[in-house]
Homo-oligomer: 332 residues x 2
């Protein structure tokens, strides 16, 4: 049988109110003697307070929902880890949800989260849908957006990455290393992320007086297969290039594979620059030069921000923009 605050009170010969006060450190005017006695009994009986009951009255669950597309995508584990670490440090627990970029799933999970009375939600918007936010707009829970920038009405904060400068810096490095015909194997232009990187790419060319050639820009998906396909297109269309800048590391890896299969040497014949710096980037052959996204920090900062919003109203509508870092390895 589960032991409750009442059992403790009985055992100690005090009221449950007293026990509750001690439990919540609102024990300014509780005699040290009873405090010690109660504490001792709590320990002895191995009493664990029932958070559910507490939540019912305090209206907060110390729980936050984390909604991402897919933990299986190497981009997310670090982010999730960062979020979890911060949550744990702040005394929060995390409900974890994968939406697969599907609106129905988003909707279902958001509902579940609201039912479970989470205090707030961390949300990574699906890549696809820039329309149907109706379901999201209705939610009154504080939300902070992460990684992908979209305009949803009731957002309380955003944690984004400076994709423009990240891409720009990376491409500049490529140029400085002597590469001139740099292909950009991009993600979908329906995302701000891809658009920003494209701008960064253009800026780098411009600053170095290189002409922007739209043949060198290929729009695709943030998926492994796209790297392979893109190289196919480039080669088939006999487009000349001496370097490729990939929208993420998975694409870069699969592109590297295709490049090798086509008999090109990396980085002698063509340089490869990735984006993200996933775990595997350092283990590839050659090790991948890439623009590191601070994924762990992103997750961490997002819940930090959310907790701040939750615990002291003021900080609403904050935008945190994190910087990338160029990690130079052997593929360039």
């Amino acid at each position: 049988m589960k032991i409750t605050i009442k059992d403790i009170a009985n055992e100690a010969g005090v009221s449950i109110a007293t026990v509750s006060k001690i439990l919540n450190k609102k024990d300014d005017n509780i005699s040290e003697k009873t405090r010690q006695k109660v504490l001792a009994i709590i320990k002895e009986k191995n009493y664990i307070p029932n958070t559910i009951a507490r939540s019912l009255v305090t209206k907060q669950t110390k729980t936050i929902g984390l909604v991402i597309p897919d933990i299986t995508n190497p981009f997310f584990p670090e982010l999730v880890r960062g979020a979890e670490d911060c949550a744990s440090a702040c005394g929060y627990n995390i409900f974890f949800c994968n939406t697969d970029d599907k609106i129905e799933k988003e909707e279902k999970y958001i509902n579940m989260l609201v039912e479970k009375m989470v205090d707030g939600i961390i949300f990574t918007q699906s890549a696809n849908n820039n329309e149907g936010f109706n379901h999201l707009s209705q939610i009154k829970k504080p939300m902070v957006l992460i990684d992908r920038d979209v305009d949803i009405p009731n957002i309380k904060g955003k944690v984004l990455v400076d994709n423009f400068n990240g891409a720009c810096e990376g491409v500049k490095y490529l140029i400085k290393s002597g590469y001139k015909k740099i292909a950009f194997i991009s993600g979908p232009f329906s995302t701000k992320t891809s658009l920003d990187r494209l701008e960064g790419y253009k800026k780098a060319l411009e600053e170095n007086n290189l002409l922007f050639d739209k043949e060198l820009v290929l729009e695709g998906e943030y998926k492994e297969e796209w790297g392979n396909k893109a190289i196919g297109i480039l080669i088939r269309n006999k487009i000349l290039f001496d370097a490729i800048f990939c929208a993420n590391d998975i694409i870069a890896l699969s592109a590297m594979k295709s490049l090798k299969e086509a008999g090109m040497r990396i980085p002698q014949d063509v340089a490869v620059l990735g984006y993200d710096d996933i775990y595997m980037a350092k283990l590839t052959d050659p090790a991948l030069t890439t623009i590191r996204q601070p994924n762990y920090e992103m997750g961490y900062e997002a819940v930090k921000l959310l907790v701040e919003i939750l615990e002291n109203e003021k900080v609403e509508n904050t935008l945190i923009r994190l910087n990338t870092e160029l990690v130079i390895r052997q593929s360039t």
Copy 2:
């Protein structure tokens, strides 16, 4: 202001009991007319029941704790994804925890989970500690163990992988392909997992009348660096080998890197066999032959089993052993 069951009852001109019954589909003897009316109002008011309040009385939260070492380790995302998918399908939510193989963290999280009143816990035991289960033994929540086999008193079920046969099959394949001096770059022998694989390795040798040479077995950690180190040891000690069987894919990748740096060609000079089949295995160069662990299924089956235990007492003490699958690629 949050809208409650009372508001619905008022609006509909019925009692809260009636609304509750309809909500819980215990509406056998509620007239279709009131049912419709109430349902309509629920919809109109966009009423979302408060699960917290419900849990307080029903004593179940429809919530499961998932405790793993580290989501950042490529082994876990698929497992977590499987767990989450099944949970979601069964109407459960998942609290997600990373312990970093640290006992204190395990303890802290388990406590948090109990406080949050999870219905059950899915647990991957830390690699290191075969001692201090005191904290775990005290927990009365149903627990199912996953991946790593240890004997903890109050476990209600286990989902494991058949490491013996997995390793055996893999090594046999290596032998059949003509490799004779197969090094085993193992994980720590403090884990049953590693021990089982070692036995499988031995069995395969034996069945093919090859002598077991303990110089070819190196015990280390399930960490990337170990692959690199192990190759170093092998080479430094001038131990001859024409194939390596690695305890997991990360080790295999880092070993492949070292091998190449030492000027050996894969698979001509030395074959590399991994274990796990992580996402990246197919993207390496050459693509890695590996023994696929059914990680997704493992996670999925674990929560399925837990839910069964939770919802109909009978199935206690079940052991589910999943099979591996040899995935042949270009590294052998």
